[in-house]
């Protein structure tokens, strides 16, 4: 069964460092998302991406964040200068053209900022 894959599974970084989280969405999917979950809290939307551009972003997704689809398969989330409060589980998700709301999530990348 096709799946969304994410790397790394866990990254530890120092505050102020840049981090890139990578995702390979399901190949025929057209819509891509990043969500995050801070420990014990709800899953929060960060950004959606369609047709090579951001279609929507939340207030969490400030200038420190960026997304890219550099080669038609990878979908990356970059945090330019990490803060302690960026520590969370980051989930990539994708969906196809049929919009029933169902998203397919990856297993997540745990980011720990020290």
């Amino acid at each position: 069964e096709p799946e969304v894959t994410q790397t790394p599974s866990h990254q530890v970084t120092q505050m102020g460092q840049e981090v890139i989280l990578r995702c390979v969405p399901i190949s025929n999917h057209l819509y891509f998302y990043w969500y995050r979950q801070i420990l014990g809290q709800k899953v929060e939307f960060l950004v959606s991406f369609y047709n090579n551009e951001i279609s929507e972003k939340s207030e969490i997704f400030d200038d420190q964040f960026s997304v890219e689809r550099p080669d038609g398969s990878n979908f990356t989330l970059k945090i330019r200068s990490t803060k302690l409060e960026d520590s969370a589980m980051y989930f990539c998700a994708s969906r196809d053209r049929e919009n029933t709301g169902e998203l397919f999530f990856g297993e997540g990348s745990r980011l720990t900022v020290l």
Binding site: V4, Q6, Y31, Y33, Y35, Q41, K42, V43, E44, F45, S48, Y50, S55, E56, F91, A93, N99, T100, G101, E102, L103, F104, F105, G106, E107, G108
Partner: protein, 113 residues
């Protein structure tokens, strides 16, 4: 602003009995409601959904009920099995279509053998 609320952080149920997970929402502009299941160290997995024009959707042991007047939905699992132990997230999709899902905080279900 919590548009989707799951007020019970945890629930314990005996194997074979019914599990009922509840979700309330505040925004009338949702057209689809979904339940996701999440095991530790895995991403959320889609479980079942319901359109706002329906009041019930059933898939095997899982049934979702929607009460639009009360802005309430529930997920029933019967009979509950130990493998159902996970965190269950309620999510809602706004009418505007491509707007992303809004998630609740989740309810941790423990099914005791």
């Amino acid at each position: 602003d919590q548009q989707v609320k799951q007020n019970s952080p945890s629930l314990s149920v005996q194997e074979g009995r019914i599990s009922i997970l509840n979700c309330d929402y505040t925004n009338s502009m949702f057209d689809y409601f979904l339940w996701y299941k999440k095991y530790p160290a895995e991403g959320p997995t889609f479980l079942i959904s319901i359109s706002s024009i329906k009041d019930k959707n059933e898939d095997g042991r899982f049934t979702v009920f929607l009460n639009k007047s009360a802005k309430h939905l529930s997920l029933h699992i019967v009979p509950s099995q130990p493998g159902d132990s996970a965190v269950y997230f309620c999510a809602a999709r706004p009418y505007s279509g491509n707007t992303p899902l809004v998630f609740g905080k989740g309810t941790r279900l423990s099914v005791i053998a």
